[in-house]
């Protein structure tokens, strides 16, 4: 067979979404929801690495990249947590149990869960950014003894916007994980921290020399967070971020997600800061 033909066929195959049935819908906050999906066709197992994403296709509407937010050890259910912001995600928010969506993936790079073994781990999330980090949290907690301190710093808009609240409370009740949540504004019912997530970094109890940091949130939040971590002495090589750009193919073919010399869909979305520091925060990219 002509090798070019088979090459294009292979790409075409990767572009075909597989039907998945919505098994459960969880309303997380006023604008964020979780879909638990089960495959219609395959053996029902979906293997992925923490930090990877899928392209989710709403028939007749469009396709969007969404990170997998479930537990990598529980492969029977595919979990995504999405915030309804625009055309596709708002339509997705209206789907119900039993509806079918198209899934292709998993794509992209993963959080350095294995490389972080032996280190303190600082996970810093902003808003919906907690969802792409949740698989890493599950994985790290399931192998708790292999890590030093585990610290989660989470910032969001108001107490009503706290994602996975019940799970965070459960995690907090463990004595071997430190969780600090902060919100941008609150009324008196909230007794927790108020202020941006970067203000939690100076006093968080980790050893900067032996720390792996994983950050996900709006780009500006990640920029200031990196600044604080570097100030504390965490090396660029040990800081990891998950980047976002609009995507089309998701497999490094169309160039839509180009970020300097990198393609976010295949070289990312998870990058070490050392890898992208010359691009990070540049306005024209």
């Amino acid at each position: 067979m002509d090798p070019m033909v088979s090459h294009y066929e292979a790409i075409e195959l990767q572009m075909v979404p597989h039907p998945y049935k919505i098994h459960r819908v969880i309303k997380e906050t006023h604008d964020t929801f979780t879909l638990e999906l089960k495959s219609n066709t395959s053996n029902g197992k979906f293997a992925f690495r923490a930090g990877q994403f899928n392209m989710l296709y709403i028939f007749g509407v469009g396709e969007v990249p969404i990170s997998i937010s479930g537990d990598p050890n529980k492969m029977e259910t595919l979990v995504h947590t999405t915030r309804a912001v625009g055309t596709v995600t708002k339509k997705m928010a209206k789907l119900k149990k039993g509806d079918v969506i198209g899934v292709r993936g998993p794509y992209g790079t993963n959080w350095p869960v294995k490389a972080a073994i032996g280190n303190d781990v600082v996970i810093i999330a902003g808003g919906i950014g907690l969802a792409p980090l949740r698989p890493a949290i599950y994985q790290i907690i399931s192998q708790r003894k292999h890590y030093g301190k585990i610290i989660l710093l989470y910032g969001t808009r108001t107490p009503a916007d706290i994602l996975f609240r019940h799970e965070l409370e459960k995690l907090k009740s463990r004595l071997d994980v430190d969780i600090y949540v902060t919100v941008d504004r609150a009324t008196r019912e909230w007794n927790g921290n108020v202020g941006v997530v970067t203000t939690l970094i100076p006093r968080a109890p980790f050893d900067p020399i032996n720390t792996t940091a994983m950050i996900c949130g709006p780009e500006i939040m990640m920029r200031y967070t990196i600044g604080e971590l570097v100030k504390r002495g965490v090396s660029h090589e040990n800081i990891f971020v998950s980047m976002e750009r609009n995507m089309k193919c998701g497999i490094g073919f169309c160039g839509h997600c180009q970020y300097g010399t990198e393609f976010i869909c295949k070289d990312g979305p998870v990058f070490s800061y050392a890898q992208i520091k010359d691009l990070f925060g540049k306005r024209e990219l």
Binding site: G127, D184, A186, N193, G195, R203, Y224, E244
Partner: protein, 158 residues
Amino acid sequence: MDSLERILQEHPFVKNLSPEHIQLIVGCAKNVVFEPGQFLFKEDEEASEFYILRSGKVALEIYTPEYGPITIQTVGEGEVLGWSWLVPPYEWRFDGRAVELTRAIALDGKCLRGKCEQDPKLGYELMKRLASVFEGRLYAMRLQLLDIYNSKAPKQTK
């Protein structure tokens, strides 16, 4: 006196200040404790004190007729609170309410201003440290103003 001096020396705001300057500050200092819910100060009251927080958490609140008190920031262990003692008319601009049991060293503002006038070296050193606190708060406040987690905020992806 002795223990106040030791506590002050260990606090990040005072750390590495010369022993003579710490002694000058101790002359204006007293230990204070606030129960949860107790106010450290209220808006428009005379700002007579500067707090060096040892433990606990304090909410800075602004009262709004529509929503009642809104917390704009919390500060806690290792931080300092208040600069209204430094600038006329020496009045608090918001309420400070202890959210948890809070232990602090309160420095008398008038006394501290007097020491700074007498010893400009101490004054300059304190100003430098306060400027760094202001800068950090301003920086954080700007991020807060951007409302970056709002779904109606300007698009972040391209």
